[in-house]
Every structure is written in structure tokens, then in C-alpha cells.
Amino acid sequence: MTTAAPGTTAYLESLVNVATGELDRRIFSDEEIFELEMKHIFGRAWLFLCHETQIPKKGDFFEAPMGKDNVLVVRQRDGGIKALLNTCTHRGNAVCRAEEGNVRNFMCTYHGWTFGLDGELVGVPGMSDFYHDDLDKTKHPLRKVAQLDNYKGFIFATMDPQAPPLLEFLGRTGRIGIDLLAERGDIEARPGVQKFTLNCNWKFAVDNAFDYYHPQITHISAQAVGMIPSADATDTGGAKTDEGKSLGVQRLPTDLDTLVALGEYGHAISGPSLDSILKTLPTEMHELVTWRQNPGPLAFLGPVGSRFAGHPHLFPTAWFTMDSQISLRVPRSAGVTEVWWFSFRDRNESPEEQRAQLGRQIHSFGPAGFLEQEDGENWSQSTMQTRGGASRDIPQLLKMGLGRGKIIHEDGVARIEAPVNEYAQLWTYLSWLEWVKGTGWDELRSSTTPGDHI
């Protein structure tokens, strides 16, 4: 709770307390804060749009969200890619009502203005009879994103012309996050993006990507049927069911040996180390992670980057899984978030391997996934409780390992080695605060550059 006036910098700074590991729950439901996020985060950051293999042929398009804007990512006649705002320059109608497909041009169904794949206005009904040829078509193309770039086939855009180049925005940590997918082989998006709707604030979904504390409870039923491994060791800490029984909580075998990377602008990685995951995977599945030790991938990942087997997350909303998927958390309002799952395959793998991976992807995550079925309600109920007048005054806790996070700088990566912890979540909110304050790019970078501890 704070006495500073809402909207001021002092007010925003009172919402995140890194020293005590406490957040103000208002950040999950206040509409004004959501609007600040739209402006200062989603209006400025480089956002993942799609993968180039989703739009291989000229005229292929995929509609992607950028904050409240909708953008058409379009394969051009010359093979290039452009990202156009899906709003007619006449009076605003969407020029395309499909999620994906193939077109020759975009014709607005309100009055028929027609735009080429490059966004140029090429047709205006009544140009001579009604407009008396007195309309400069070159002045009214579909608007483009401010900057568009592509890292190894992953297409990103920003609405801010001042934003640093994509590579600088990603930094070493962000690039490692993408390389852990891109360098696996000859990567291609599988047809079909799973999309579903959660009644939660987007940040609950985002910080969960780093949360290795929850699987042993949230996903205990998936653990019970063998979807995820469990350790013999337990530390139930007195947890009991509502019948007073111990659940026999079994942590993940990797939980005492995890690695965190903290990166500029809020990117982070958290989860098991390569060594610990190798100990839990059956030998025939080692290839799932050992490919990164091959010379090609290793050249990009480096000795430190290749040791991460957890969850990379690109600020603000793109989580990369260990098995070639991206989960995009798409904010629609303070209390509604869509989850979009992009799934990839390696064209070099055998059909059997590709098929097995497809099964793992479908059966782990997504709305019917053995794991993810259980996640949504935690986040929607958590969001709901941030609206109560009394409930919202209770701080949100990120105290695990607080003050014990010794940051090791090596090979351009800032890492922490520790048992399960909440450092990456804390890093996300520390960075989030800098973003929503509207901090300029240079200061944003320096204030989100990891020091020696957290």
C-alpha cells in the first residue's frame, strides 16, 4: 500500500519492492496500470510475431497481436516480409478478417479500398466519379510497424522507431533463449497455433514460466501418471490436503540443481541445468538436450548458454520451452489473456522422432495438455483475488532465496546457480517497473543490467 498519487513515478515505484520480495497486487488488475503497460511496454518492446515458415509463399499472411494493435505479417512478392497494421486508412475497418491464409491483395469490405501485399493503396472505388481523381493514393498506404527484423527465422517487430536494434534488445540472454530452439536443427513451424483464453492478468502467466516451485503441487496428477519425473526426496514442509492427509509431495529430481540467467530489458532463463536434466531423462531421450553440445549449436550458445535446460523467456511475453515450442501470453485486457502456442519441428529428424515430439507437444501443453490443464485456474483465481478491497492489500510474495542470489558473470551471461528459487520472477518485475515508468532506452538498459546479486 502506498500514499503516493496513482500514476506518478513514486506510486509505480511503491508497487515493486525487490529488497523485500513483495509486489503490490494492484499491478494485476488496475486498468490504469494496464494502459501504462500497453503504452510503455507493448508500444515499445520488440514483440515476437511469428516464424517465417508460417508464411512460406507470396501472399501468405498471419495476423499477430502487438498490444491492442493487430498486425498482418505478409510474405511479399520478392520473398521479403512486411508487417502492416490491419486497419483501413479510409475509415478504419479491418482489411483482413482471417487469422491466416493467402491473398493477392487486401480489399477492405467497407468501401472497397484495396491494398497490395506491400500495403500500398492500389484501388479506390469511385476514384474519378466520386473523388474527382483528387486523392493522393500514395499518402494512404496501410501503416507499417516502426521496425521489423528477423532472428534465425523468428520475426519480431516494434512500434517504437527509437527502439534499439533487435539483436541489441535480445542481448546474449535473449539470443541464447532463441538459439536453444533455433539451433536444434532445420526448424519449421508445425501448422496450427493453439489459442485459448484465460481470465487472468498476463503477468501471472508470464512469471509462471520460471516457476519450478509449482509443478510438484499443481501438476502432481501429471507426475502421478508419469508425465513428469519425480524425486524420492521430499520436503513437504507440512503441506496437507483439506482432509489433513500428506500428499507425499515429490519434487522434481532437478529441483536442487537449477540455473538462472538474468538479461538486459527483462529477459531471463530459469529451470534445470543440463547436467541435472540428463540425470532424469532416460538415455534414449538424451538427444533432446545433448544436441546443444554439438559444435554448430555450441558456437552460438557458448559453454554457459549450452547448460540451460530450463525456460527462456523474452520480455515481455514469449516463453520458449525445452521441446521446441513458444508460448505467447497475449494481453487482451487487465483480466483477460490469450495463450498462443507455436510448435516447431526439426526437418532433419526422422519421421518417427518428429511424430514422437508432436505427441509430447500436444500432450504436455495447450488447453488439453496433461500439464497445462491445471495452470489456468490458478492464475484466474489469483487474478480475481487481486480485486478485493482487502485482498489486494496483501503483498504478492517472491521471497524464495531472497538475498542469496549470487550472480556469476561469465561468457557474457549473468547466471545464478541455486535450488528452486524466485530470482527470474523478481527480475521480471524489477524490469517491468522500469518499463512501465516509461524509462528511456539508455537508462532502461542500464537499470536492467544485472549486478552482482539479487
Binding site: G101, T197, V225, L358, G359, Q361, P367, E374
Partner: protein, 182 residues
Amino acid sequence: METMRLETAIAPEKIAAMYLQYEVERFYTHEAALLDHLRFEEWVDLFTDDTAYFMPIRRTVPRRNLSREFTRPGEMAFFDDDKATLVGRVQKLGTGTAWAEDPPSRTRHLVTNVRIVEDSGTELTVETCFHLYRTRLKSEIDEWIGRREDVLRRTEEGFRIARRHIYLDQTILLSQNLSNFF
């Protein structure tokens, strides 16, 4: 007035077709009742060991791209299960710790428009429409309407589902999960 005897008025093959329709519909209402009464172990027994249970992703596409509206087997999907996976889902519900269904959802499976589109002797291809209504916790409502395409195999125990493809009438799902069966 003289009552006409049914079998003299209607051709025998029509009576056989009516009876088959009756049997198939009875099978589906039985199946729906098992699901709505949370009797999942009995429900999963209605599937053959070589079954395929598939729910593709549906996409809003321009009319001329309608052929790519649904993903196909081998592409991404919401469900792409064999028997072992389906049984795994049922076992998961039986652990007592599958929180997405605890407290349990209240569901009503309404199955209608039952059309037997092919009868090969050993197997039937049957299309149905469904309305799955779910309420959860205090005030949440989810609804899924769609179409199913089943292959029903005739066995000694009665019909068994040898394939089920489920086509939802939603593209972006409006619900937080699919923790129920269709």
C-alpha cells in the same frame, strides 16, 4: 378402423435401418450419461485398443482457403490421443489430485443430429452434433458446440469407438482449458 401391422406396411430394410439408428442413438446417450456421471473408467472402455481420438485446431481463414480451416493428423491439434493416452487422462482424473477437475466440473453432453453415413458391415461411420455445457466453481460457464465424426466398430460387447474426430465451432477457444471429454 383397421390397425396396419408395421411389418407389412414398411419394407424390412427400412425397419432394420430404423433399428440401427435406434441402437446407435442408444449407444450415444449411454456414452453421454457415463461422462456426465463422471464414470470415466467405463467411458474409456468404449474405445477400441487401436482408437484415434483427434481434435484439430480450427482457424478463421478466407473462404478460398477453406481447405486449410482445420489442421490434419500429423499437424498440431488439441487432442491427438491413442488408447494409452486416453486411459492416461482417465487415470489422471482418478488420482484425486487433478485440480482442474476438483471441484469437478458439471457437464451435460447433448448429442443430436445422429447420421449414419456409411455402413461397411464391421464398422459404421457416424456423424453427430454435440453441445457440451460445463459449469465450474461458482459462476463459470463454458460451452462447446461442434460436430463429431466417429467410426463405430461392431464387437461382441456392442459398438466400440474406433476413431473419433471432433470439430469445434470455435477458433480461439474461449475457455481456460479442455479438461473434459468430447
